[in-house]
């Protein structure tokens, strides 16, 4: 994180943070101040502009980017069970029967 003329700049290395995670995090704070995402080869930069407390907001955005990245990583591992639960819940709520392919096991 560093100070820039109009606010704060955060740098997220692409080795750790996907562009999607940074964009999702930026979206969460888009109502609080100006947020600009600048994708790059080795890092995605985020510019925060016009925040009342730029230091605090930048910290929160960094936390949120980490949270989003963890969620994306988790989805790669858990997407199957998560998908089964969501599908079952939504189809049952509509009154449609779900069929267990593995006989319920």
């Amino acid at each position: 994180m560093k100070d820039v003329k109009s606010g704060k700049e955060l740098i997220f290395e692409t080795a750790v943070y996907s562009k999607e995670a940074v964009e999702l995090a930026a979206y969460v704070f888009s109502g609080s101040c100006g947020v600009k995402v600048l994708p790059g080869k080795s890092a995605t930069r985020v510019l925060l502009d016009g925040a009342a407390d730029p230091e605090s907001l930048a910290g929160k955005l960094a936390n949120e980017a980490l949270n989003q990245q963890c969620r994306i990583d988790l989805a790669k591992k858990n997407s199957r069970i998560a998908g089964i639960i969501v599908t079952k819940a939504l189809l049952s709520a509509c009154g449609e029967k779900t069929q267990a392919k593995n006989k319920g096991k």
Binding site: L24, Y27, V28, F29, G31, S32, N63, E64, N67, Q68, C70, R71, D73, L74, A75, N78, S79, I81, A82, I85, V86, K88, A89, L90, S92, A93, C94, G95, K101, N102, G104, K105
Partner: protein, 489 residues
């Protein structure tokens, strides 16, 4: 399909990486698993469990095996049955249908989450046509048991529509063979003998708000035209008396009350509980405040931290258990519902603590104008000008259409604990749930960030208190009886 054979451990030791989630607690560890089983181990034993160094002859091996913590020794059918029972809500449609008969209210409660309008506000009452259409919509749910809850504002301000909806719902239930429960949430200030008689004769269960002794209640629940507490107490006593004198023509349900904990409540746990006991109420629901609706703007004044609530909750539970030991019947509702999951592996119908949460798939809120929302909290966000949780309208949508709406799907996906980074590894996952509306209001996204989420901290605190009590044989014995009551519900 290829079926894996059960793993046999040749060394006769528990295998490494037990099938467990864990949390530090009271100098040891609480272990839980996907089936909802739990066990306590000391730190020393935990190290042995984790490294798979518990020999087969060790009593702990047998204990952990029986609860499904030892890989290769799991009764998969039994554990799967437990999982299914605890998650049976995945197999039904929305059971709770909240009808907002009016936004008008004669109270101006400090923490109001219902986004109430003034008593004289215009065009905020549900019309008869909308009410009947809402009942029709509720009955399209595949759930065999439908609960219609009449809310507001103050629902008694729209009495004509309420009575018509009650009668119509009863007719629909008889024709559809669905089980129907009707409930009214009222502040009682407009209750009369005539209205009470109608409600009793039509088997409408009655619930009101009671925040404790008069000064505390009236401080939270401002009623310019009189004494809110006096009205609530008068009619609680009335309905209690009626409940005690059952008649053959219809069932009279025990009335209930809801407590909302504000900052002003935190130092007065005994007085609040004593007030409930004195009125013969056998359940008290120690509900935390959420920063939604008016409460959000007044949070500095009436809100509190999750740690403060947990401390209050712990003191309440201590006192309630003490009263139970003295032979006084009083239960804490949140604990009762959590115990139902922890001890009986059953889903108690607590929509706030489900995976996925009850939004749209477990409940639907019907606004006065026929708009449909994922839940009542979602409706409040709509009233503030953001319709993100709107899923349709009774005149234009079908149930299937509402459940296919982006809002409904987003809530189901985002409240799935399997996809939440912290929740997926939390010891309380088998019993907990997240709230997309809270996350959206407090943290700006439906997913939230559990590491800094106050609701998460609060629920962890409450679970910590409940599990600590369960470790003590005397307290556990009392708390087990709280779930027996649920069986007769």
């Amino acid at each position: 399909m290829l079926v894996k054979k059960p793993v046999r451990n040749k060394k006769k030791l528990s295998s490494p990486a037990p099938q467990a989630l864990w949390a530090k607690m009271d100098g040891g560890r609480l272990l839980t698993n996907e089936s909802g089983c739990h066990a306590w181990v000391s730190e020393k034993d935990f190290a042995r469990v984790i490294s798979g160094r518990i020999a087969e002859g060790d009593p702990l091996f047998a204990e952990l095996s029986a609860a499904g913590f030892v890989r290769g020794r799991m009764d998969l059918d039994g554990l799967a049955a437990k999982w299914r029972t605890r998650n049976e809500h995945l197999s039904y449609g929305p059971g709770l249908h909240i009808m907002v008969l009016t936004l008008r209210c004669n109270h101006k409660c400090l923490y109001c989450q219902s986004s109430a309008a003034g008593e004289g506000a215009k065009k905020t009452d549900m019309s008869l046509k909308t009410a009947l259409k809402s009942v029709d919509f509720a009955f399209t749910s595949p759930n065999p048991a439908i609960t219609i809850e009449f809310q507001g504002g103050e629902p008694l301000l729209n009495w004509g529509t309420l009575t018509a909806a009650v009668k119509y719902a009863r007719k629909k239930a008889a024709a559809s063979k669905k089980e129907l429960k009707l409930a009214l949430v009222s502040n009682f200030t407009l209750m009369t003998e005539e209205k009470a008689r109608f409600l009793l004769e039509n088997e409408v269960s009655i619930c009101t708000s009671l925040d404790g002794p008069a000064d505390l209640h009236n401080r939270n629940r401002i009623y310019a035209a009189g004494n809110s507490h006096a009205g609530a107490v008068k009619w609680i006593k009335y309905f209690q008396k009626k409940h005690g004198n059952q008649v053959p023509e219809y069932r009279i349900f025990k009335s209930s009350a809801l407590l909302t904990v504000s900052r002003y409540s935190l130092s007065r746990h005994k007085e609040i509980i004593d007030e409930y006991v004195a009125l013969g109420l056998e359940d008290i629901f120690i509900r935390p405040l959420a920063p939604i609706g008016y409460a959000k703007g007044l949070w500095e004044k009436i809100g509190y931290t999750s740690q403060e609530f947990t401390a209050f909750y712990g003191k309440c539970l201590d006192y309630i258990l003490e009263l139970n030991r003295r032979g006084i019947v009083i239960r804490e509702k949140m604990a009762s519902m959590m115990l139902e999951k922890i001890l009986n592996f059953r889903e108690p119908g607590y929509l706030d603590a489900r995976c996925p949460c009850g939004a749209a798939i477990g409940q639907i809120a019907y606004n006065y104008n026929g708009d449909l929302y994922t839940c009542d909290e979602g409706r409040m966000v709509g009233w503030e000008g953001d319709d993100i949780f709107r899923i349709g309208n009774v005149f234009k949508s079908t149930l299937k259409g509402a459940l296919s709406s982006p809002a409904a799907r987003a809530c189901v996906v985002s409240s799935n604990l399997e996809a939440q980074p912290d929740c997926s590894r939390c010891a309380y996952k088998p019993y907990c749930g997240v709230c997309p509306v809270f996350n959206y209001e407090a943290q700006g996204s439906l997913w939230g960030n559990m590491r800094s989420n106050d609701r998460c901290r609060l629920f962890k605190g409450v679970f910590g208190v409940i599990f600590s009590k369960l470790r003590r044989a005397g307290d556990k014995e009392i708390m087990e009886k709280w779930t027996v009551k649920n069986e007769g519900r």
